[in-house]
Structure formats: C-alpha cells, structure tokens
C-alpha cells in the first residue's frame, strides 16, 4: 500500500507540472525596444523572440528553479531567477550593451592598420604588395601613405620630419635591427622582409603604444602569418633573379620556406646604368617560418631570415669624373625570432618572445672602408589582463641588448675603432578603458634604463577616441618617446645622451562603405638632439639640439565609385626644422619636402584577365647644402615626380606574368648634390647630382604555383 502510494505520488509529481506564462518587454538603455532578442528558460527549448515592440511571451512547464535568459548579439546576457509560485509573470528587462571591438571606437590617431583580420581598416596587407612602384617592398608601399616623405635615394621610411633611423620595425612584437638590405651609395635599399610573410601591419606615424620603445618617430609593427591552409610550391622567375617557396601543412602546424637569389648582372647588361658595375648586386636570401598550435589556445611561431649580399662598382670621382673609384659593399645577416602566446585563464593571457640579430656590413671605396658588426638580443614578456569588456590592462617587461663594433679606415690608412655594449631594461603598463562603445581612453607608461647613460626614464603615452556617429570618429594621442642617438655618435661617445620627442596628434576618420577618409594634424617637438662641430671628435659633442615638425595629413580611399577600381589619394603638408648635427642654427633638414602627394589606383580588367596598377608620386623641392653658396642648406632640388605602372596577367590560375616600370615618363629626378671634398684652384667645389642609378626600373616576372588545388594561384600575391 505504502509502495503504491509512493508510485502514485511520483506519477502525480510529474502531472502536477503546471504551466507558467512569462510575458515582458526588452529595451536598451536609451529606452528603444529591441527586436529579435532570444528570451528563454535556461536548459530548456522553451523561449521566444521579441517582436518590433520588444515584447515576448513564453509558456513553459513549472520547474524548481527557473532562470530566464535574454540573449542578443552586441549585448550582455541578462539572467533572472523566476518566482516559481506565480502562474503569470510580467518582466521588463534592460539589456546592457557589450563593447564590441568591431563596432566600438578604436583609437586611430597616428596609426594606419593594414590587416586581414578586421574588416574595419583603411588598407589590408594585399594592398601593400599590389601597389605599383612598390616592387613588393613594404616601405615602398607605405611611402604612398600620408605622413611619409619621399627620400628616393634611401628607400627608407622618413616619418613626419624624422630621419629614417627613427622608424623602428617590430616583427611579432620583437625588435629588428638593420632591416634594410645593403645598397650602393645613394641608391635605395629594400626591406629584408617580404610582405608575403605577414598577415597584418600597423604603421604608426606617431603616438604609439607604450609597448614600443627606442623609436622617436614611427613604429612599423608586423604580424607574421598564422598556420598556412594548404600545401603548395611556388616558383618565380624574374628579370632580377629567381625564387622558390614551399609551404607544408600538417594538422596543427605548418612550415613555409622561401629561398631567393637575385643577381642584377643580366638586367644591367640590358638597361644602361649611371653606375659602372664590376659585380652587379647579388643577394641570397632565405626566409623560414614554422608555426605550431601548442594547445587549444596556445600558439608558437618561429621565424628566421638569413641573407648574404655583395656588389662591386666604380663610382666616379666628383672632381675628376674620369677617375673611377672602386667600391665594394657586402653584408651578412641573420634574424631569428620566436613568439609564444597562450591564454592562462579567462582573464589572463601571456605573450613571450625572443629575437636575435647578427649583422655584418662592409663598405669600401678607394682605400677608405667601414666595417660594422651589430648583434642584438631582445627578450620580452607581456601579460594581458582583461578585467571586463570595458577595461583591460597590459603589463610587460623587456630586455634589449645591443653590441656594436665599427672600424673606419680613411684613405691615409688611419684607423678609427669604436664599440658599444648597450643594455636597456624596460617595463611598461598600459590600460584601456571603454566608457561606452563610443568613448575610450588609453593610458600607458614606459620606463627604461639604458646602461650606457645609466639613466632611468619614464615616457607616458595617452590617447582617447570618441565615436561621432556610425561612420565617423575622432581620436587624439599624446606621448613622449626616447631613442639612443645614431650608432656613429655612440661609437665616439658611449654615454651620449638619448634623444627625445614629444608627439601631439588629433585625427578624424570617416569609414563608409567602400570609401574612407581621414585627416590628421600633429605637432612634434624634439629635444636632446646631438650637435657637433666634428662628427668624429667626441669633445665637440653636445646634446642640447632641438627641433620641431608640424603638419597635416589627408587620406582618401574609394573602391566603390568606379567599377573594379580601387584608388587612394594621400597628401601631406609638413613644416619642420632642426638644430642638430653641425647646423649653425635651426634649419629645414634636406630629407624634408613641404608637400608630398600620391595617388595609387588599381583596376582589374576582366576581358584581358589583368590587374593594372598606377602610382603617381610628387614631392616638393628639398634643400641641400651648396658648398659654393654662403647660405647653409641654401640649395633647392627640383620637384620630384614619378609615375609607375604595373600589370599582372593571369595566363591561367597557376601562371601569372607580371611587369612593372618605374618612372614611365622618365622625369629627371634629383635628390640633392654631392660635393668634392676639396675645392679646386679657383676655390670652387665640384658637384654631382644624386639621382636614381637609372631613369627607369623595369621588372618582369613569371610566377608559377604548384598545388593540388588548381584554383589556388599567386594572384593574391601580386
């Protein structure tokens, strides 16, 4: 009997599950009703979707602890424990907006992000390599962005009144020393790093994060690619050499290797050069990348770059052009970098990295020579703490070791040797606080101690962004930056004072569909720049030099107005002066041109299966020091013009032909003048213009892809 009662009561307990009706209304903070919210009883199928008025109604079986969940994209889930004694429940819920990094304001002051990951960027990494005239060189393409200066004889990134050495390159957060391959005197060098190795780039023209130090003007932050998708082999044959690349993919890892050999001998035999070459530049370059997923959230990247280059040429003596001065340049280079990323818990993440640079450069001309060995080590640990979707804090510690050894020999056989052994310990902390999805503040502090000057320094970095509307936002940034003076100064005086810069930046950005516009104004102040009367004599050095740069940068990009056509326009105005080196006062440095302008256009023409690219660049007059005039830096070069054209023809999915010509119209560009060391008997200094080694550069190549999947081609790489 008892048992029967128990049995009955069990059955009854199931049947007594009465129905409960929950009705209500869901809105956001502003009071606006939310349409499409998923409202349900946790752990059951029972639920509803809110209608246009934000209303919902759910009928469910009564249970012991019923939790109502309201879930909607872009908002935090809202949970309510329901009163189980009621049959009818009325509820009003206000959902809290989640800070969605894709739609929220991002601080764009000073930075150009080119990445495949985020859709909200003004450029992506493919844009870099398809820019005509860039010859797939990262700095070459970035030189079409505002804030940069055309300094054609170096090929480097001169940013907002800063010298080329004030732009530092970082790969996966790790510093790179000596990132340009060697070149003949007054000819442009190329970056050693192929753009194809990277998935994202952030080119900062100022005001960058406290994570990056030892860069006065600019940080170029490169993120290498993750695990590759497909096993493939690529072959390229070019007018300047050949390369072979192979990628192997395994379940949780991939390896990519590329070996390039370039030799300009055949090219120089065809296209006449201003320079007489004995051994045209040859370069053997290997790039290797291994990636492995170490756990569900852990990731290890190993990257190596090795290269060896040499060239022999004859430079004409300035005073006596018939006198040929034998010139030789060689370089051996090794860069090795590892980076590891892991999520420690829901709130903590860690990044660890090391990098290793060994570089050996030699240059000689008619009895004079310069040899420099640099070895660099970099270790870094960063902890990322995510307090909430609104607040995150980053802590980091770094050790930068750098050794340099330089031997100079002049034409009298006198030797000058210099060394340094620099160790910079640094720590940084940076917090990012979102007030709402349209207002964000970021504050950081970088502390460094440089062993050579034995001075502890603190550099604050502050920035903020405010979203004006769906498409537009403003941001501002402020920061102070520090960098050791150029190596040539440290060799003479190990404890030379570090140079300082202070950046103020304000930026407006508008991102529409297929169109974007940005304008930025900035002011930069330099202090502690090195001054000297003789750059080889330490006793003449002092460190009270200063300078400033101020200007306006404009950028417009449009891939919508014209069918299959994408173009962007950059304009930079800059006013900059410096009192440094051996300047007798404050002057505009020779690398600064007041106006820089460029237009890049790309169009795919289906009927001829080709992508065409056109780049026009303009830079206004630059100054040079005319030794035959009394005025310091009184000479003015002509304006600079360049029109470059490229075409990529898809013969088939696997075979692509590529052609590129720089300076199609053959503009006579002069970057400045070199002067003879001694005046002639009339007291006149002979001179020679600094110009490109040839008016035009022509590049031809065929690219072949071998992969199981026949639809994969190198098109994305062109």
């Amino acid at each position: 009997m008892k048992v029967q009662f128990l049995f009955l009561s069990i059955i009854l307990s199931f049947q007594s599950l009465a129905q409960v009706t929950i009705g209500g209304y869901i809105k956001e903070k502003s009071g606006e009703p939310l349409l499409g919210v998923n409202v349900f009883i946790e752990g059951t199928y029972d639920g509803a979707t809110t209608d246009l008025e934000g209303k919902f109604s759910i009928t469910t079986d009564r249970a012991d602890s019923m939790i109502l969940v309201a879930s909607f994209v872009g908002f935090h889930d809202h949970k309510i424990l329901l009163d189980q004694n009621k049959d009818k429940i009325q509820i009003e819920i206000e959902l809290k907006e989640k800070i969605n990094k894709l739609n929220a304001v991002v601080i764009t002051a000073g930075s150009f992000d080119a990445s495949d990951e985020s859709k909200r960027v003004v450029l992506n990494s493919l844009d870099i390599v398809t820019t005509a005239g860039s010859t797939a060189d990262i700095p070459g393409a970035l030189n079409t962005l505002p804030g940069t200066q055309t300094v054609g004889e170096t090929g480097r990134l001169f940013v907002r009144g800063g010298e080329g050495r004030e732009t530092k390159t970082f790969i996966d957060g790790m510093i790179v020393h000596n990132e340009y391959s060697p070149s003949a005197p007054n000819t442009p060098g190329r970056s050693r790093f192929s753009p194809f190795m990277f998935k994202g780039m952030s080119f900062s023209t100022g005001g960058y994060s406290a994570e990056y130090g030892q860069a006065l003007s600019s940080a170029l932050i490169l993120q290498s690619k993750d695990i590759a998708d497909i096993t493939r082999t690529d072959l390229s044959f070019m007018s300047v050499g050949a390369d072979v690349a192979h990628t192997s993919v395994w379940k949780n890892s991939s390896f990519a290797g590329k070996v390039q050999y370039s030799n300009l001998t055949p090219y120089f035999a065809l296209v006449s050069q201003n320079i007489k070459w004995d051994q045209a530049p040859t370069d053997l370059n290997g790039n290797f990348a291994y990636r492995i997923k170490t756990s569900k959230t852990g990731f290890l990247k190993v990257y190596a770059n090795l290269s060896s280059a040499e060239m022999d040429l004859y430079e004409r003596d300035i005073a006596d052009p018939n006198l040929l001065l034998p010139t030789r340049v060689t370089s051996d280079y090794l860069y090795f970098n590892t980076s590891y990323k892991e999520v420690l818990s829901e709130k903590w993440g860690i990044r660890l990295g090391t990098s290793f640079t060994e570089s050996s450069d030699f240059a000689s001309q008619a009895g004079q020579s310069r040899e420099e060995d640099i070895s660099g080590r970099h270790g870094k640990a960063v902890l990322d703490y995510i307090h909430s979707d609104k607040l995150s804090i980053r802590f980091g510690a770094e050790l930068l070791l750098r050794k340099g050894d330089e031997t100079l020999i002049n034409n009298l056989g006198q030797t000058l040797n210099g060394q340094f052994d620099e160790s910079i310990a640094s720590g940084f902390v940076e917090a990012e606080q979102y007030i709402s999805s349209s207002l964000v503040f970021k504050a950081g502090l970088r502390m460094e101690n440089n062993s050579l000057v034995d001075q502890a320094t603190a550099n604050p970095r502050l920035s903020a962004g405010y979203k004006l509307g769906d498409k537009s936002q403003v941001s501002v940034a402020y920061g102070t930056f520090r960098q050791a003076p150029s190596n040539s100064i440290i060799y003479r005086l190990n404890n030379a004072t570090q140079e300082n810069a202070e950046h103020y930046i304000a930026n407006y950005q508008w991102l529409g569909e297929g169109r974007s516009f940005r304008v930025e104004v900035y002011k930069k102040n330099y202090s502690n720049l090195t001054r000297y009367s003789d750059e080889f004599t330490a006793s003449t050095f002092n460190f009270d030099g200063d300078g400033f740069a101020e200007g306006l940068d404009l950028f417009w990009r449009d891939s919508r107005t014209f069918n299959n056509t994408d173009y962007w326009v950059s304009y930079s105005y800059i006013n900059s002066e410096r009192n440094y080196r051996n300047y007798p006062g404050s002057f505009r440095p020779p690398f600064v041109s007041n106006h820089n302008f460029s237009v890049v256009a790309k169009r795919f023409i289906q009927s001829i299966k080709s992508q065409l690219g056109l780049t026009y660049s303009f830079a206004s007059k630059r100054r040079y020091n005319d030794l035959n005039e009394d005025v310091f830096l009184g000479g003015k070069t002509p304006n600079y013009h360049d029109l470059s054209f490229n075409i990529s023809y898809l013969y088939s999915n696997q075979i692509i032909f590529h052609a590129m010509v720089n300076n199609v119209f053959g503009f006579n560009n002069i970057f400045g003048y070199d002067y003879a060391a001694q005046p002639d008997s009339d007291g006149f200094y002979a001179s020679r213009p600094i110009r490109p080694p040839a008016k035009r550069f022509l590049f031809l190549g065929v690219f072949i892809t071998l992969a199981k999947n026949k639809s994969i081609s190198q098109l994305p790489n062109l």
């Binding site: 998923n38 029972d46 894709l102 992506n124 497909i230 891939s559 026949k710 994969i712």
Partner: protein, 216 residues
C-alpha cells in the same frame, strides 16, 4: 515488492529519457524545415533563435548550431546593408564555432564555414574576393579531406570553382567535375527528408549541372 518499485522507477526514468530524446528529434523536425521556409527576416530570426535554444540546451548535439548558421546565411541574403550582412555572417561563424566546440573537425561544419566565407566574397568581390575566396576554398578542401563522401562540400567547391573561373574568364575551373561527384554521392544516399543530419544539396547540384555543365 522492492523489486517492483525499482522496476517502476527504472521504467519511468527510461520513459523520461526517451521522451527527452524524442523532444530533440521532434523540435529539429519542426525547426529545420521552418528554417528553410521562413520568408522574412523576423520569422527567420525566430527560428534561428529556437535552434540556438535547442543547441544551448543539448550538451552534445552540433546540428542545431549547423542549422542556425544556415539560417544566418539566409538572413544575410535578406538584408541590404554591408554592415548587416557582415553582422549575420559573423553570427553564423559564431554558431559554427559553438558546433565545433562540440564536434571538432566535422566535415559538415567545415563546409558551412566555407559557405559563409564564400558569401563574404559576394558582399564586395573587388575588395574581398582575394582573401575570402582563398579561405572558402581551403574550407571546402578540408571538408572533403575530412569526409570525401560529403556531397555538399563537393557542390559548394564546384560553385566556388565556377565563380573563380568566371572571374578569370576561362572554362569552368573543374566545377562540373565537382558537381558530378556531388550528384553521384547524393544519389547513392538514401535521402530521408526527416533526417537531422544535413541532407540538402541535390536540388542545387542538379540546377547547377543543368545551367553550367549541360549547355556546354
């Protein structure tokens, strides 16, 4: 007597379990066709939300998320602005990720992921084509490697191959071969309309063969 009670409880538990299992089948049988048939965004969001609820309530079924992702793909084609389209594709990818957390390396989820990448291309072929067509292609290839008998992966690969070949202006890029493979696989399968496992694709494949391959 004790034995009877235990048996009774046992039967009851089994009944409850069975009833729950049946609940899943029943709910899916209702919502899968509802997802295909929803003709306006409001109705479709309702169905996708219901599928998500089923997925959240069931700890080890990936199918609800698969169909939720499919629903987001359909939603994407119903809205106009790029931002909305991207939003639905992002939600589709998030649903796939939830499914993958339950079943890693699944051929069906992988091809759905590729499908989402493929639709990303259609939003703006000029600026997105290069990046996302590669990602879509890689997903279809991976899906086929995971299960060579996945007809949907072959069908979608065929569509991608044809699209790429059209862009290049030459041939079918191997699309007809892929469609033929898909057709053969679909026809060898017993097509159970009520099955929870994905079974769509034959109609689309036949249409593609008729439009693309037979006219040649």
């Amino acid at each position: 007597m004790k034995k009877t009670v235990l048996t009774a409880i046992g039967i009851l538990c089994a009944a409850v379990l069975f009833a729950n299992g049946g609940q899943f089948e029943k709910a899916m049988a209702k919502n899968i066709p509802a997802m295909y048939q929803a003709a306006d965004p409001e109705t479709l969001i309702g169905v996708v939300n219901q599928l998500t609820r089923i997925g959240d309530a069931e700890a080890n079924r990936w199918e609800p998320y698969y169909y939720a992702a499919f629903g987001y793909l359909r939603l994407m084609s119903m809205v106009e602005s790029t931002e909305d389209k991207d939003k639905y594709l992002d939600q589709g990818l998030a649903a796939i990720a939830k499914g993958e957390a339950i079943k890693a390396n699944d051929s069906e989820l992988e091809s759905m992921k590729g499908y989402i990448h493929m639709m990303r291309v259609t939003i703006d072929p000029a600026t997105r084509g290069m990046q996302y067509s590669g990602m879509a292609m890689a997903s279809f290839q991976k899906a086929i490697a995971l299960n060579p008998q996945n007809g949907r992966a072959h069908f979608l690969l065929g569509r991608m191959q044809f699209g790429t070949a059209q862009f290049m202006g030459n041939g079918d890029g191997g699309a007809c071969e892929s469609f033929a493979k898909a057709k053969a696989i679909f026809e060898s399968e017993e097509n159970d309309e009520r099955s929870i496992a994905p079974s769509w694709g034959l109609g689309g494949t036949n249409e593609a063969i008729q439009q693309i391959c037979e006219g040649k």
